[in-house]
C-alpha cells in the first residue's frame, strides 16, 4: 500500500508540475498587467476551483523555471504592504511556448485516450 501511495504521489507530482506550468503561462498571459506571485496563486486557486491540490510554495520554483527558459520576465516593484513585489510578464517566446504547450496537451490527451481505449481501459 505504501508503494502504491508513493507511485500515485510521484505520478501526480509529475503530471501536476507540467500542467501547472502551462496554467501559469496561461494566467500570466491572460493578465492585462504585470502580475505578482501571490496574485498568480490566487488566480490558480480560482481557475482550478480547489480541484487541483497543490502546495503554494511549489508554484514559485515553476515560475523560476519558466523564467530560466525566457518564457517570463520579472522585475521588482513596490507594494503597499511594504516588502518588494516580484512582478511577472510573459515574453513573446513564452506566448509561443503557451500555444505549443496547449496544443501538445491536447494531443497528449487524445493519444492517451486512444491508447487506453485500444487497451480496453475504461
Amino acid at each position: 500500500m505504501k508503494n502504491i501511495e508513493k507511485f500515485k504521489n510521484k505520478l501526480q507530482r509529475e503530471m501536476k508540475s507540467g500542467f501547472i506550468a502551462l496554467l501559469l503561462l496561461y494566467l500570466i498571459n491572460d493578465s492585462n498587467e504585470p502580475i505578482y506571485g501571490y496574485r498568480i496563486i490566487q488566480g490558480l486557486n480560482k481557475a482550478t476551483k480547489g480541484n487541483l491540490k497543490f502546495r503554494e510554495g511549489t508554484v514559485y520554483p515553476i515560475l523560476r523555471y519558466l523564467q530560466s527558459q525566457n518564457f517570463l520576465t520579472s522585475f521588482l516593484g513596490e507594494s503597499p504592504n511594504g516588502a518588494p513585489r516580484k512582478y511577472y510578464e510573459i515574453t513573446d517566446f513564452g506566448k509561443v511556448a503557451l500555444h505549443e504547450g496547449l496544443q501538445s496537451w491536447q494531443l497528449l490527451r487524445n493519444e492517451l485516450d486512444s491508447i487506453f481505449k485500444s487497451m480496453g481501459v475504461k
Binding site: 508540475s17 492585462n32 498587467e33 504585470p34 505578482y36 506571485g37 501571490y38 496563486i41 502546495r55 503554494e56 510554495g57 511549489t58 514559485y60 520554483p61 515553476i62 523560476r64 523555471y65 530560466s68 522585475f75 521588482l76 516593484g77 513596490e78 507594494s79 503597499p80 504592504n81 511594504g82 516588502a83 518588494p84 513585489r85 516580484k86 512582478y87
Partner: protein, 277 residues
C-alpha cells in the same frame, strides 16, 4: 518568530544552492507570506494573527523539505553550485584581505564613535528627503551595515540592490547598482519611529494630506502608472486600480522627497524617503 524560523528551515534545506539564488528564493517566499498574512488580517479584520493561523498559512505553503525539493527539480543544473567546487582566484584572496582590512578599520571606527552612534541610533525621526539622522539617502551599503548590522536578505535586481531589515526593524534600503548609493529608504510596518509631525505607519490618509498641505491632484492609475509615478509627483494622490478594483492609495510629495502607501482603509502601510526632485 514563526515565519522567521520557517524561512530559516527552508534556507537550511537549500544548503547546496548558490548563495545569491538562495537569497532571492527566501525573498520571494517571504514576499508571498507577507501578502497572505496581510490578506488574512484584512479578511478576518484583525491586526495580528494567532500562531495557529500562522501555522495554517505555513502548512498551506508547504513543508520546507518539499519546497526545497521542488526548487532543486526546477532549477537548471548550472544554477546549482555544489559547495566546495568554486576555486579561489588570486583576485578573490586579495579582495578578502581588503575586505578584512576594511572590517578591522570599521570595527576601530565603531569603537571610537560608539557613544555618538548609540545616541543617534535611538533617534527614529524620519526626515523627508534624507532618511534618519544616522543613515541617509546617498550613503552606501557599508554605512547601512555599520548602523544596522548584517541585512536579513539582499536582492540584487538589474538596477537596484534591495537590502532588507524588514522583520527586525521594518526598514528596507534600495541601493543603486551603478552608484552604490542609497536611493530610497522604506519604512514599513514594524518600524516604530515617525516624522517630526508625528505621521507614522498606521496614520490615516487625511492626516497625511493635512500635514502635507493637501493633494494638488488626485488620479486613478493602473499598477504601472502608480508604481512608476507616471501621472505626476508634486503632491499627487494615486488611486491604484487593478483589474477594475481599487487596491491601494499612494501619495507622492516629490518636492519634499517623500511618498506614502496606504491600504484600502486609508492607513499608511509604508513611508518612502528619497532625494527631492
Amino acid at each position: 518568530m514563526l515565519i522567521k524560523n520557517y524561512l530559516k528551515s527552508i534556507e537550511k534545506e537549500l544548503i547546496d544552492i548558490d548563495e545569491k539564488i538562495k537569497k532571492s528564493i527566501i525573498q520571494e517566499i517571504s514576499e508571498h507570506l507577507d501578502e497572505k498574512i496581510e490578506d488574512v488580517k484584512k479578511s478576518k479584520k484583525v491586526s495580528e494573527l494567532s500562531p495557529k493561523r500562522l501555522r495554517k498559512i505555513l502548512e498551506e505553503f508547504g513543508e520546507p523539505q518539499e519546497i526545497a525539493g521542488e526548487y532543486r527539480r526546477q532549477l537548471s543544473e548550472e544554477l546549482i553550485a555544489v559547495r566546495g567546487t568554486k576555486k579561489s582566484s588570486k583576485k578573490q584572496v586579495i579582495a578578502s584581505i581588503i575586505a578584512l582590512c576594511v572590517v578591522l578599520t570599521l570595527i576601530l571606527v565603531i569603537f571610537t564613535v560608539v557613544d555618538i552612534n548609540d545616541e543617534k541610533k535611538d533617534d527614529k525621526t524620519i526626515i523627508p528627503g534624507k532618511g534618519l539622522e544616522v543613515i541617509q539617502v546617498g550613503d552606501d551599503l557599508d554605512e547601512v551595515k555599520d548602523v544596522f548590522g548584517e541585512p536579513e536578505y539582499i536582492v540584487d535586481s538589474n538596477e537596484l540592490i534591495w537590502v532588507s531589515y524588514r522583520y527586525e526593524k521594518g526598514i528596507d534600503f534600495l541601493i543603486s547598482n551603478t552608484t552604490d548609493k542609497i536611493v530610497e529608504i522604506r519604512f514599513n510596518s514594524g518600524f516604530n519611529g515617525a516624522l517630526a509631525n508625528e505621521i507614522s505607519i498606521g496614520s490615516i490618509l487625511d492626516d497625511v494630506l493635512n500635514e502635507s498641505g493637501g493633494a494638488k491632484n488626485t488620479v486613478q492609475a493602473n499598477l504601472t502608472e502608480t508604481t512608476n509615478v507616471l501621472l505626476g509627483s508634486d503632491r499627487v494622490l494615486y488611486e491604484q486600480i487593478y483589474k477594475g478594483n481599487l487596491t491601494a492609495y499612494k501619495f507622492v510629495d516629490a518636492k519634499k522627497g517623500i511618498l506614502y502607501w496606504f491600504d484600502l482603509d486609508k492607513t499608511v502601510t509604508q513611508i518612502v524617503v528619497f532625494r527631492p526632485y
